[in-house]
Every structure is written in C-alpha cells, then in structure tokens.
Amino acid sequence: MLKLTRVTKKYGTQTVVDNLDLNIPQGIVFGLLGPNGSGKTTILRMAMGLLKPTSGRLSILEKYSPGDKLVRKKLGYMPQQLAVYPGLSVYENVLFFGRLYGIPESVVQSRTHKLLKMVELEPEQNKLAGDLSGGMLRRLMLATTLIHQPSLIILDEPTAGVDPSLRLRFWDWFAELAQTGTTILITTHHISEASRCDKVAFLREGKLLEYDTPESLMERYNCNDLEKAFVQATQARIGG
C-alpha cells in the first residue's frame, strides 16, 4: 500500500529521516513508534504529499506518488491537533469534510449519520464542535476522517489525551476498519498500546531500528511488553 525506498529528509544540516526503507501492506494496522523527534510526523507528512523527501521515493498503491489527486481521494488523515471547525455543529463538521471529497449529497448525509452513530456522537450532532469535550472532539475527528471511506488512513497520535476506555474503543474501531481492507498507519509514543497493531516499526532519530509484528519483537527481545522491547532495541543499536 505504502512503500518508502531509501527516503531521507533533511532540514538544513539536520537529518530528520535517514535512508528509510519501509513497506506497509494493505489491510493492516501499522504502528510507527518512537519518541518525540524520531521523525514519525515527517514520514506521515511525506506520505500525504505535504512534504517532499530530500532523496528517495515514496509510492502509494505501487504506481502513485503522494499528493496525486487520485491518492488524495483515497487518503484519510487525522492530525494530532483537534482540527475541526468549532463554529460548525458536529453534524456540519462531518458533512463539510465529506463534501470536500465530492461525495453525492444523499450519500454524504446517510454516511454522516452512520459515522456519528459509530463514534457515539449522534445525540450531540447539533452541538457546536467548540462545546465538545476533548474525548468527543477526538471521536468527531475520527468521523470526519472516515467520511470519504479512505483506503489509507493516517492517524497522528490519535489517542493523545484520550481516557483509557475511549482509547480501547479507538483500537477496536481501527481493527474493524483493517478487517474491511483499509490500511491504517498510526504514530504513537504510547508504545505499549501499539501491541494491538498488526505490524510495527521502531524509529529513533530518523532511523529504522526494527520492523516486525509486536509478538515477534517481544519474543526477539525476550520481554512481554512492547515498550521494553523498544528500549532494548534502542540500547542494542547504541551498543553497536
């Protein structure tokens, strides 16, 4: 679905992503894990066509480049910020993002209702987004991301500031979406919760440390916690 071949991104003399090779297959939940400043958001921005790599190549669905109009129609993005319109109602926000993708009016309206039901925001649909709590806003963001039924969903720290029960609900929704063939690319620095991903990549200072299933990584580093596996992978790389 998304392939990075020797991708490097530099800002001046600072290398943020360093010669990265990554292949993310279709229909999985893929976790891009690493501490702040490890290059996760830069990779996402390159995948969305918002940034150009300094060198290397990114391809989506084998033949398309990020930023191509066809790719943009199939791409859903949920940023870390609460990027919705506080002056629009919950219903209007979802409708607006659907209309941006040119979805026919009757379809977009029925989809909006379905999505609001899914994220349990139907009773709040007439409330202004600006009046919602943080957790509700996250759910609204997810609904606006899914309205055009994207085949690649990029989620940047989707569970940041979300309470534990809602965090579990989010991961359930991600798993359900992956089962329908949607590819989900998630970044998080809550490494332990990423054990629900089908595959993960450990990143540090723009370099790829590991790339495998959470189970295999935990087995490789002989631990039962993905966070410990990450620490050991980092130490192993520093140790040489």
Partner: protein
C-alpha cells in the same frame, strides 16, 4: 519574588521574537513620522492668471498683490497671443483638467470697457473644484486681491461727478464670475472625504477578518486537512473569497448607502455601479493580502501586528485625508505601492469629477495588478512553506 520571574520570561520571549521587537520600536517611529508630515503644512493652492488686450498692463500689479496671499502662482502653458475666446477657454479648462492649477483668473479686454460704462466689470474665475480646501483657499486669496485690482483700474468720471462719486466708481467691486470644472460652489469639505470611505472600510475589515480567520485555520490544523483533500490551494482561496464576499458585500452596501445619503449632490446609477466595482476590487485585494499576512505570520500575535503595519500607512499616505504632496518624496513613492491610493483616485474621479469608470483605467489596471501580484506571491509563499514545514 515570583513576579520578576514572570517578567523575565516575557523579556526573554520578546527578545527572541525579532518581528515583535521591530514592531515595538519601529512602528511608533513610523507612525509619528507620518503624523509629523501629515500635519506639518497645509496644502498650497495654485493659481494661474491669464490676461488679454489692455488688461495685460494690470497683470503685474495683480500678481504682486496675489504674491502676498497664501497661494502659489504658477505660469500656464497657454500661448500669450490673441486667439478665439472659445479656444482660449478650452485651453484654460485643459490646464485645470491636467492638474496644473486649482484656479485660473481670466482678465478679458472687455473688463475696462465695462468699467468705463459704469458697470462693475466681469472677471472669469475658472476653478478645478474637486478639492474643496484648495478651492476655498484660491477663492479666498483672489477675493481679497480683487479690491486692489479694482482700485488700480482707471476710471472715467464725467464733470458732474463729485469727489464722493469718483471714489464710489473707484471702489465699485469687480464682478467675479466662478466657473467650475468639477462640482460647484456647493461642494462641502466632507464631500471630498466621503468617496474614500467605502474602499477603506471594506479593505480594513476584510483584511482584519481574513488575516485572523486564516491564521486560525492554519494553527488549528484544518488547513492541512484541506490541503490533503482533493482541493487545490486556488480552490481554498476562491472559497474564502466566496464566503467573505457575502459579508463584505453587505458591509459595502451599508457603507455605500450611508455615504450616498450624506452626499450633497445627486448620484447616478452608473456611478453606483462604478463604485461597486471599485469596492469589489478592494475587497479582493484585501482578501489575498489578508491570506498572505497570515501565511507570513508564525502565530496569531504576529498576524495581529500586520494589521497596523498595513492599515496605518494607507490612512496617512493614500491621499485619504492628507495630501501626499506634504510628505517627502520617499513616502510619495511608498504611496504608489498602496492599493488605497489608486482606489481613492478612481473613487474621486467617479464621484467628484463625474468621470466614467473607464476613464480611471490606469487605476483599475493597477488595482487588478495588485490583486494578481499578491495572489501570485501568496501561492509562492504557501508552496514554499509547505516544502519547508
């Protein structure tokens, strides 16, 4: 003790924000300079004198009297030869139209004959008329010089005329007949300022709201979401224009209606159409300028700083209230780079000079150029920011 740490934090942050520092220290200097030049001196009206026939003999004396007045005497590009009166009048109007003087006094050879016939004697006074302050200044100066001119003119007194009678003939006031190129003596000072209100207010409010709204769109992250959707940057700009045009359009209608009510003269439908087009052009310019300002600003604080930086020079240098002639050449060059300068000229041409909108084609062309130039710069800045973000 905690207080000084809060102060320390503020000082550290501001010291690191060079744009804020510049705003803090340079903008007051700029504004004070503008106020200084704006209020430094009043505009000086220019007067030309044309005399024909025997009246040429009295021109030098008249000029000496007029030199004592607070006006500038200018020489005109009218040949000093006897020509058809109609042609001469055309030449006088052309001088006024070309902006060489605010008033031209014409001393015709019939003046003495009329005085000798016991009449007051007519002097034609041609006025440009579009700037009430200058018109008033030139009229006042000429009026006070007329008594001296009347006294210097020869008189014919018959033998039956007593000393008192002779004196009364001498001081008989001249008949000063005013002819206006634009407007009339009914033009009030406020009529000169009213036409600039619609473009200014539309520019000011649209720039203000666009800058803040788009800055919020960027900081909130929704702009990024728009940009990854199958939406082009041009579509976003057009969407903004479409959204704002309704409110700015309503605002423009309110301002225009208010101003048209206040105007002391009749406004035609084509004039309303012309000023609507000009206001719309200013709306488009302020919109793209607002978008550009929000792109150049790193945060809402910096975006707010653009507002006085863009608005204040336009108030001072666009010939809105103060004549640009009272400013140094440097500021006069800057005034040419301000959209409001050109909009004000066109608005006054349409409303005060009763000209066709298309007669102001240089201004229309310049304003369109401003819109396209800023739009192009905006696209460049936005794509550059995307690649370096």
């Amino acid at each position: 003790m905690v207080t000084h740490w809060i102060s320390w934090r503020i000082i550290r942050e501001i010291m690191r924000d060079r744009r804020t520092l510049a705003f803090f220290f340079l903008v007051p200097l700029l504004v004070m300079s503008l106020i200084y030049y704006a209020l430094q001196e009043d505009e000086t009206a220019r007067l030309g004198v044309v005399s024909r026939g025997v009246m040429r003999l009295f021109e030098a004396d008249l000029m000496m009297t007029l030199e004592e007045e607070d006006i500038e005497l200018v020489s005109l590009d009218i040949p000093d030869e006897e020509v058809d009166p109609e042609l001469l009048e055309k030449l006088i109007w052309a001088e006024l139209r070309d902006g060489h003087a605010e008033g031209i006094l014409f001393l015709g050879e019939q003046l003495l004959e009329e005085r000798f016939d016991g009449k007051r004697g007519r002097i034609d006074f041609y006025l440009e008329g579009s700037r009430p302050t200058l018109t008033a200044s030139v009229v006042e100066s000429v009026a006070s010089a007329m008594d001296d001119l009347a006294a210097s003119l020869p008189v014919v007194i018959d033998s039956s005329c007593s000393a008192f009678c002779a004196n009364s003939v001498n001081i008989k006031p001249l008949d000063l007949e005013e002819h206006f190129l634009y407007g009339s003596e009914d033009y009030r000072l406020i009529d000169f300022f009213l036409p600039v209100f619609p473009p200014f207010f539309v520019f000011f409010f649209t720039f203000l709201i666009t800058t803040i709204t788009f800055q919020r769109e960027r900081l909130r992250g929704t702009l990024e979401r728009l940009l990854i959707a199958p939406v082009s940057f041009a579509q976003i700009v057009m969407g903004y224009i479409g959204g704002f045009i309704i409110f700015s359009g309503c605002q423009a209608v309110i301002i225009l209606t208010f101003i048209l009510t206040l105007m002391s003269f009749k406004i035609t439908l084509s004039q309303v159409g012309a000023i609507t087009i000009l206001t719309l052009l200013m709306l488009l310019i302020s919109l793209v300028l607002g978008l550009l300002a929000s792109f150049l600003a790193a945060n809402e604080f910096q975006a707010v700083q653009f507002i006085p930086l863009v608005i204040l020079p336009q108030i001072f240098l666009s010939d809105m209230i103060w004549s640009i002639d009272s400013f140094p050449v440097f500021f006069q060059w800057i005034s040419l780079a301000l959209p409001l300068t050109h909009a004000n000229v066109a608005m006054r041409n349409v409303l005060l000079k009763q000209q066709n909108l298309w007669d102001s084609w240089p201004q229309l062309l310049t304003l369109s150029g401003f819109f396209l130039g800023i739009l192009l710069f905006l696209v460049l800045v936005s794509s550059r920011q995307q690649n370096s973000a």
